[in-house]
């Protein structure tokens, strides 16, 4: 076999191997179509300021958001957003559904952890003064993410349709209702009527599994694009 034939043979066996390996797929077959190698390398090798452990809270918040999405989708297989099915389906989930108890408790604690991760992330941004120009717009995008995260906690709490959750929802929606001029309209919109009922559960469910995740995803994309463009603020 001539050296040319040998190298051709070597090349074709590599491309066969590349078909099955991740590296080969990314830098071989996929790269020849979408030229991702440069983009990957630029992202991974991009220098970041040495900003310490506190700069991990944003990444932790993102990770917890993904955990919430994954466990939340699994819980949706069993949950029914109506009165009294919401309570019964939660009972079923907690006691009988395969691994229902597990996904439920992880969803519960990861949700709380996400609220604290976001809060600690804000604390770091405040303490580093990273909210100032040129990151001012990203602060505003981030603050929307903060309220969206709180929205997940507020709407998710009512979903099991328990006594305690009922009174919490009743309290905060009526507080919103006492806002001058527009408060009552907002309260009606949130509750789906004058009182907290099964319609409220249905509405909170739509917010919890669709509206808030969609908005969060949108704002996270904006947030990360800006972090990528501006880089992490310089250490002080």
């Amino acid at each position: 076999m001539s050296s040319r034939e040998r190298s051709h043979h070597k090349g074709s066996s590599r491309s066969t191997r590349d078909l099955f390996g991740l590296r080969g797929f990314l830098f071989g077959s996929a790269d020849s179509r979408a030229s991702m190698k440069g983009a990957w390398e630029a992202t991974l090798r991009r220098p970041v300021a040495h900003s310490g452990w506190s700069s991990c809270f944003g990444g932790i918040a993102l990770f917890l958001f993904l955990i919430q999405a994954a466990t939340g989708i699994l819980l949706m297989f069993f949950y029914i957003p109506a009165d009294p099915e919401a309570y019964r389906s939660t009972l079923y989930m907690a006691g009988q559904a395969p691994f229902g108890w597990f996904f439920r408790i992880i969803h519960h604690w990861a949700g709380i952890a996400m609220m604290f991760a976001v809060s600690l992330h804000v604390l770091r941004v405040l303490f580093k003064g990273a909210y100032q120009d040129p990151r001012d717009l990203n602060w505003i995008v981030g603050s929307v993410l903060f309220f969206l995260t709180a929205g997940f906690v507020l709407t998710g709490d009512l979903l099991p349709w328990t006594r305690s959750a009922y009174w919490s929802a009743e309290w905060w929606t009526s507080l919103v209702g006492s806002f001058p001029l527009i408060g009552h309209q907002i309260m009606l919109f949130l509750r789906g009527g004058e009182n907290v009922t099964g319609s409220t559960v249905t509405r909170f469910y739509v917010f919890h599994v669709f509206v808030l995740p969609a908005l969060s995803t949108l704002f996270m994309v904006l947030h990360f694009a800006m972090v990528r463009k501006l880089g992490i603020s310089e250490p002080l």
């Binding site: 090798r45 604290f116 809060s119 600690l120 906690v153 328990t162 959750a165």
Partner: protein, 141 residues
């Protein structure tokens, strides 16, 4: 995998140390994520969830119902102000201050004093939340 010691770069008179995102920063984030997973697992094992009674829109609130932890700071504020209208206006005002913070502090200064001034109110809020959470753990939700 080789991590890099970083390189120094001169920026606006100060020396800044830079690292590549991969592997340095990515490894750091992965370790933090492992720690978070461990914390969630420990909390889940120590404090299993129990379910309160079913909601009854026709009943009166009873002793034993718990307020959602995230609402506690607002409940406290409401208790002090005694007027729901005023409470919600104040909460909205504080939220607006939070969102518009960069417009309120255009000084461009990052002195320790200024940063402490900005971070302390939020730190108090986070601590309050943590305490509220601590007191609601174990109460059926």
């Amino acid at each position: 995998m080789r991590t890099y010691k970083g390189r120094k770069r001169q920026t606006r008179g100060s020396v800044r140390r830079e690292y590549p995102f991969y592997p340095n920063q990515l490894l750091r984030i992965l370790m933090a994520i492992m720690g978070t997973l461990a914390a969630v697992a420990v909390l889940s094992a120590l404090f299993p969830l129990s379910l309160d009674l079913i909601a009854d829109p026709f009943a009166r609130p009873e002793a034993g119902t718990r307020a959602l932890w995230i609402l506690k700071p607002v409940i406290l504020l409401g208790g002090m102000l005694k007027r729901p209208g005023l409470t919600i206006v104040l909460v909205t005002f504080l939220a607006a201050l939070f969102v518009l913070l960069p417009a309120l502090d255009r000084s461009g200064q990052r002195t320790l004093k200024r940063r402490l001034l900005m971070a302390t109110p939020f730190l108090l809020w986070v601590l309050f939340l943590a305490v509220s959470l601590l007191f609601s753990v174990g109460v059926p939700g």
